[in-house]
């Protein structure tokens, strides 16, 4: 499961932000990290929901890194 989550997120970031390079587990997803804007984060939320049935953006705390997303699914 963890590998699949990492693969989906990395493929997504690679598609929308090819200039960001390989996404590290603790790289911030937004701003000075991978640089996702709000609409790209919304899109990632939809991609994750399609792939795994739930998405971490539905919760009270928005995931900040790939690690946060992996943790969400590990505890879901």
């Amino acid at each position: 499961m963890q590998e699949r989550v990492e693969q989906v997120v990395r493929e997504f970031v690679s598609r929308v932000k090819p200039e960001a390079g390989e996404l590290a587990a603790d790289t911030p997803l937004y701003a000075d990290g991978a640089g996702l804007d709000s609409l790209e984060a919304a899109e990632l939320s939809a991609v994750l929901e399609d792939e795994f049935g739930t998405d971490p953006f539905q919760g009270e705390t928005m995931p900040e890194t790939l690690n946060d997303i992996v943790s969400f699914y590990a505890t879901a």
Binding site: D37, S38, L39, A41, A42, E43, S45, A46, V47, D50, D55, F57, Q58
Partner: protein, 456 residues
């Protein structure tokens, strides 16, 4: 309606009125059926009936019979028994005309009588040959934008008035692509019989059967939704068979994507392509034949004498129609002189009134209003896309995002189409770009394949 059959039967009774793969019914035969059925309808002692059958010839005869004696006929959609029973209850019907085995008398609610369609139309001698009464109601059901059915009350007198400019065209053979329970089907019916032409009514009325009927039943004219035409073009590409020789292509019922007009023109080079802007409530505003998307701004300059006038108010098209509905079922008559919003959002660009979508379909992406139609047009033009539906998908980040369901051509590479769709929309404002692309076998539709864009 009965007057059209009488006129057609008087001119040449043997001319075909309704043609299917199984039978041909002449004007003379159809008129005889309708006048006998009119006598029997009147003898029922009721002022309205629901009809649950859908074969073109008997249903047309029954509609004409209703118009002859002033009995309101309400054609129910071709749904299962449970939905039909629901509609019977919603619209307070006490008589159901049908030959369906799944709607026996015992299945009907208490107080609802079942009358066999075959019995009403059986040969007989007692023909109703008098002039029709002044009040001749006809009820059309619509699903409405909320999905809850509404009854739209029409009157045959007004409906017939809309056909005054139609010239005789006895050699035209019109394909029935809509259900006769739909207002668009009713419009085709009125046009065909006002012109003394022939109605070709295959069953079921899907694009595949429509294409077959075009090829085998000598169809010359066809009116359908843009979605129907897109599916028909896809069927044509898939089977590689002969391209039907059409003289007239009419589109209506949905906003019409510009690229589709071009594709139809290339596929049917000898056909005249027209667009109709119409709705159950206000009727048809006429047809445009200039092969451009949208309406000419001349429709905004018709003046007070016109039966139907249009204007733009705050980006929405408003209409005043003297030939439209009498009112909704269960509600008072509307003022035929009053202006009403159509729910269609438009922009005036040069000499065109361009459709942007329905007011109820606007996608709200983080407070930014996005019109789905513009995006749908772009995606529809991508190679390998047979049909696209753009809608608002709920999203925890932005409220909604732009999502699209795509029906791909047979054998197409969906990954390549996905990339092509994103490339085609890359220069749109960020909020308008599709954020969710799903490939499906068919888009969410109503019975007539009309694309719906409800938030999900």
């Amino acid at each position: 309606m009965i007057e059209f059959l009488r006129r057609g039967a008087e001119v040449r009774p043997e001319r075909p009125a309704v043609v299917t793969h199984d039978l041909t019914v002449s004007y003379g035969e159809l008129l005889a059926q309708a006048e006998v059925a009119a006598t029997r309808l009147a003898a029922l002692g009721v002022d309205r009936v629901a009809v649950a059958d859908h074969e073109a010839a008997p249903v047309v005869a029954l509609m004409a019979a209703g118009s002859a004696v002033g009995v309101e006929v309400c054609l129910l959609p071709p749904d299962g028994a449970e939905q039909v029973l629901d509609l019977i209850g919603r619209f307070d019907h006490t008589v159901v005309v049908t030959d369906r085995d799944d709607l026996p008398e015992s299945a009907l609610p208490g107080g609802v009588r079942r009358v066999a369609l075959g019995a009403l139309l059986a040969p007989g001698d007692a023909r109703f040959e008098s002039e029709p009464p002044a009040r001749r109601p006809h009820l059309v059901l619509t699903t409405g934008t909320t999905g809850a059915p509404r009854g739209v009350r029409h009157d045959w007198g007004r409906l017939v008035r809309t056909t005054e400019r139609i010239k005789p065209a006895h050699d035209e053979r019109w394909l029935l692509c809509f259900g006769l329970h739909q207002f668009a089907g009713l419009q085709v019916l009125l046009h065909v019989f006002a012109a003394g032409a022939t109605l070709v009514g295959p069953a079921p009325r899907r694009p595949r059967e429509g294409l077959d009927a075009m090829r085998t039943l000598d169809v010359t004219h066809a009116s359908a939704t843009p979605t129907y035409w897109r599916f028909l073009l896809a069927e044509l590409r898939a089977d590689g068979g002969a391209v039907p020789t059409l003289r007239q292509i009419t589109l209506g019922g949905e906003a019409i994507p510009g690229p589709l007009l071009g594709e139809l023109e290339r596929t049917f080079p000898d056909a005249q392509v027209s667009q109709v802007y119409a709705a159950s409530e206000f009727g048809s505003t006429g047809s445009m034949r200039d092969r451009q998307a949208g309406l000419s701004t001349s429709v905004l300059e018709r003046g007070d004498d016109a039966d139907i006038a249009l204007k733009v108010v705050d980006g929405e098209l408003w209409i005043r129609s003297r030939t439209g509905m009498v009112g909704y079922y269960g509600e008072p008559d509307i003022d035929a002189e009053a202006w009403r919003p159509t729910g269609d959002l438009v922009a005036v660009e040069g000499d065109r009134v361009v459709f942007l979508g329905r007011s109820s379909e606007i996608i709200n992406v983080g407070g930014v209003k996005v019109h789905p139609l513009v995006i749908e047009e772009r995606i529809g033009a991508v190679d390998g896309v047979d049909l696209a539906r753009v809608y608002g998908r709920r999203n925890p980040m932005t409220g909604q995002i732009v999502a699209v369901e795509v029906v791909a051509s047979a054998g197409a590479d969906t990954a390549a189409i996905d990339a092509a769709i994103r490339a085609a929309c890359a220069d749109l404002p960020s909020a308008s770009r599709p954020r969710s692309i799903r490939f499906v076998d068919e888009v969410s539709t109503t019975g007539s394949k009309i694309v719906r864009r409800e938030a999900q």
